[in-house]
Every structure is written in C-alpha cells, then in structure tokens.
C-alpha cells in the first residue's frame, strides 16, 4: 500500500537506510501479518499494528472481496445524488460475495462536547436483518480510563477493532510513558481500517476522550472554551473518514437524534441537562427507527475519566410520556 511505495521511493531517491526495510517487508513469508508502522524501525519510534493488504488475499473467506480488480468508476460514486438509505446498511454499490450470515447493523449512538467533558449515549439493540439479535448489547466500549468509543455498523467488527485499538494504545503508553491523544487514536484506527476498504467490514466509531492532564494540557486559554478543556471527539469510519468535531451521531437512527441535539446542545449545559438531552435524543431515535431500541446507556468522559449512568429501559420512558400527555395507556 502507501507504505510499501514509500519504501520503494527510498530506494529510488537516496539510500537504503536500514537493511531490514527491504523490498518485501510485509509479512508474506512467515505468515506474520503485521508491519511496523515506519520503515525506520531501528529508530524505535512507533510500533503499531497496521494490517498488510496481502493478508486479505490469503484468507479463505477473502473478507468479501472478489477478483478481478474493482473497476474504477463502477464502485461507489461519491458524486451520485442517488444515495442509498438507510445509512446504517451496507452500500449496495460494492461488488462483494454474499455474506455467510446476516451481520448485525443498525443503531443510534451520539456524543457531544460540553463544559463538563464529553457526553456519550447509545441504544442497546443489536439487530440482524429484521430481528433483534440482542436487546442488551453494549455499544459504548471503554478503551482506557480516559477514552471510550461508540460502535456502529457490524457489532463483531467494532468489538474486535476496539480491542485491537486498546491493545495498541496500551503498548504505546507502556513504551512512551504517556497516553495517545484522542485524535491520534482516531488516526491510528483509521489507518488500521484502511486496508479493508472495499470489503464488507463496517465500523463507524466515535472516539470520545480526555487528553492531557487535569488542566487540559496547558492549552492557550485565550481561545474558545473547548480548547481549554481536554475533551475531544473524533469520528472514524471504515471507509476512511476521520473527522474531529463537537457533536456527532452515528447509525441508522442518527438523523432523528441530530434534530434533537441540534436544538438542545450548548456548551454551557450542566451535567444533568446534558444527560437529559442525550437521553432524549436516543429515546426519540429509538421511537422512530426500527433498528434502535430497548435501553439507553449514557457515559460521561471528564478529566477524572469515564463514568457510566445505570442502563435505563426506554419502554418506561414511553409510558411516562404517554401519561404526561394525558393518554394513559391500557
């Protein structure tokens, strides 16, 4: 991939810096499928696991890719205004072998920054082609003490990649004595997922974390308030998108959640108000979206780390609202 060509570029341009970085460094012989993240491996800079594209060809299932070469322009055209809907399902444009069994998709997750840190919420329904595979799944996975990630897309893929990310971040922390920033973790995840682009792997994660020390790592307080706090939010998708922002919602229920959040989220919310907005957004999305439902999980990431609110069943909320509106249900 790109790193491969960087090595070849080295040979062409100047000199071979280390004999270890030869023309075939990427795990084809021993079956060891990872590469060190940089050709300058003896400098001991970064050792990250980034899967090599060749590994995909050796796998018996081939991760949903078919040969021959995906023709240019026949694949998903970004300029086409005919968008597939709902966004939670895999795009029909990629040419793939049929999956061996239906994968779990469809969710509502959201996260936003406010003065008290990062507020994260998600539903708990895992759906699988129209049936509820698990009504009590966990879509917000803690990665380390100050970073949580929401999962959307294929549950299995998300769970796996979160664990791989957690491993890599922990190794970095042990080697270098400090934590990777949220946007750095997002970049790492995006690079790890890039070789799988064009396959059926589907991960839409929002990484929500607190960077730096308790004071937010000494940023310039003269700028807007969000640069003083260490709260940070980054959306990563398996198609390669990586966006840093202050408010994201991902999943088939995300448009419903966005409309609630766009009205209610402000920087100055108290923790209780922010919790209420997050919960309301998930509740409205679960009401309208068939693939979201059951309970809601709410987490908050602050300088002390992440804290979790007890899981709440939204069925009760629906009945309470019916009461409030004067329509007591039977």
């Amino acid at each position: 991939m790109a790193l491969q060509d960087l090595c070849k570029l080295q040979e062409v341009l100047v000199d071979r810096l280390s004999a270890g970085c030869s023309s075939e460094p990427f795990g084809t012989t021993t079956g060891c499928n990872y590469v060190s993240g940089s050709p300058f491996s003896d400098a001991g800079m970064f050792h990250f696991y980034i899967p090599a594209a060749e590994y995909l060809e050796e796998s018996p299932i081939r991760f949903g890719q078919i040969r021959p070469v995906r023709s240019v322009g026949a694949a998903s055209s970004p300029d086409s205004p005919a968008l597939s809907w709902p966004p939670g399902l895999p795009l029909a444009s990629s040419h793939c072998v049929p999956l061996p069994f239906p994968m779990a998709h469809g969710t509502t997750t959201l996260a936003f920054l406010f003065q008290g840190g990062v507020m994260v919420a998600a539903d708990t329904r895992s759906s699988c082609s129209g049936l509820v595979a698990c009504p009590a799944s966990q879509k917000i996975l803690p990665i380390h003490s100050h970073l949580v990630g929401t999962t959307s897309g294929t549950s299995a893929d998300c769970a796996l990649w979160k664990r791989i990310l957690a491993r890599e971040l922990r190794l970095y922390q042990l080697r270098h004595g400090r934590r990777v920033s949220t946007s750095g973790a997002a970049k790492l995840l995006a690079r790890m997922l890039h070789p799988f682009k064009g396959t059926e792997l589907c991960v839409g994660a929002t990484l929500c974390g607190w960077d730096g020390g308790a004071a937010g790592g000494g940023r310039d307080p003269g700028k807007n308030p969000s640069s003083v706090s260490g709260a940070s939010l980054c959306y990563v998708c398996s198609d390669g998108t990586r966006l840093q922002g202050a408010l994201f919602s991902v999943g088939s229920g995300s448009p419903y959640a966005y409309s609630i959040l766009d009205q209610g989220v402000k920087w100055g919310l108290t923790v209780d108000q922010a919790t209420a907005v997050a919960r309301e957004a998930v509740y409205r999305a679960t009401h309208r979206d068939a693939y979201s439902g059951n309970c809601v999980d709410v987490y908050r990431v602050s300088s002390e780390g992440w804290t979790r609110r007890t899981r709440e069943d939204l069925k009760e909320e629906y009945y309470r609202e019916e009461e409030r509106r004067g329509r007591p249900s039977e």
């Binding site: 070469v69 240019v72 694949a75 968008l83 390669g240 998108t241």
Partner: protein, 199 residues
C-alpha cells in the same frame, strides 16, 4: 456535492473550497478544511470518496515534506503536481485506486503562479481557472465569460463571489460556506470565509 475552484492571476492564485463534510444525507461537519498545505507556497485541494481524500492528500503532503528534508529545497508546484499525478496513475490500475479529484495551486519563485487540475483518472492540466464537483457545471461558463489573465486580487474575489452566488441560486444542495485562500510570492494567506446568504 463538494466544490473546489481555483483562479490564477498574474502574480497570485486564488482558491476556494466548500466546508461541508457529508455522510449520506447528513452534514457531519460544517467547517471542514479540504485544503492541504504541501509547502509554504503550495496548496492541494482534494475532494472525492470519503476516506481516500485524506489518505491520499496526507500521503502526498508527507512525501513533499520528506523531499524537502532530504534535499534541502522544496519541490516546485509543477514537480509536486507531476508527482501527485504519477501516484494517482500508479494506484489507478491496482486493487485499490484512489477516487479523488484535485486542484494543486502554487507559486514558484521562477515561474510564477500555477494552477493544476487533476482528476481521479490521473489526468493533469495546467489551467488559468478550474473547478471540481457538480458546481463546476454551473460556474465554468461564468469563469469563461469574465476571466482575464490580468485580474487583480479584488477582481478575482469578485469573480469567485459571482460563482458562489450562482451556486446559491441554482445548485440543489446547500453549501453554506467556503474557505478562501490566496497564494502569492509571500506565501499562503487566508481570506475571509465566504458564506452564501439566505435565498
């Protein structure tokens, strides 16, 4: 969905890009920056398929910087454009082509300003003005009509505003704001973000 435009003057290049990062029908980000700084006087504007844009543009960006570190001097805009095109062409017939459309704008101390148009099939053309995206269909004829090689900076910004006004009026999608930058012999300068007002 996305829009890029570049206008070359006698001693500057004016470039603008929209600020929307979209996913399906949603605007995920309203302040996305689609310009990548390759060196002190070269900007790469990159739109296209979701992950490919950042991956490819950052790859080019780091390689251009690496060249400077190794050799002590920077790549000229023309050399950077040809390097970018070569990479696009090499990946085009691989298993993983990059679906990106690019504008490369730069100022060379010997050759002056330059604007290079590149598309996802790795075509490369040096042009006095260029645009990418559906918006290009609506605005290229405005550029054809009003462009002169001896535009001043203010006239170029007015021409840009005419193009954005046409998009606001006729383009079905909402592109509320645009990042605008100018490259001249002093380097890259940010101009005021242009917003299209209410209809």
């Amino acid at each position: 969905m996305e829009y890029l435009i570049g206008i070359q003057g006698p001693d500057f290049v004016l470039v603008a890009a929209d600020n929307v990062a979209a996913n399906s029908i949603l605007q995920m980000k309203h302040d996305a920056d689609k310009m990548f700084k390759l060196s002190e006087k070269i900007l790469l504007l990159c739109v296209g398929e979701a992950g490919d844009t950042a991956q490819f543009a950052e790859y080019i960006q780091k390689n251009v910087q690496l060249y400077k570190m190794r050799n002590g001097y920077e790549l000229s805009p023309s050399a950077a454009a040809n390097f970018t095109r070569k990479n696009l062409a090499d990946y085009l017939r691989s298993r993983t082509p990059y679906h990106v459309n690019l504008l490369l704008a730069g100022y060379d101390d010997t050759d002056g300003p330059g604007l290079y148009y590149m598309d996802y099939l790795s075509a490369l053309a040096k042009a006095p003005f260029a645009a990418h995206g559906y918006g290009a269909f609506l605005t290229l004829s405005i550029l054809d009509q009003h462009y002169r090689p001896d535009l001043t900076r203010d006239e170029a910004v007015d021409l840009l505003k005419k193009c954005i006004e046409e998009l606001r009026k006729r383009f079905i999608l909402n592109l509320p704001s645009f990042t605008v930058r100018v490259i001249d012999k002093e380097g890259i300068h940010d101009l005021e973000t242009l917003t299209s007002g209410p209809k």
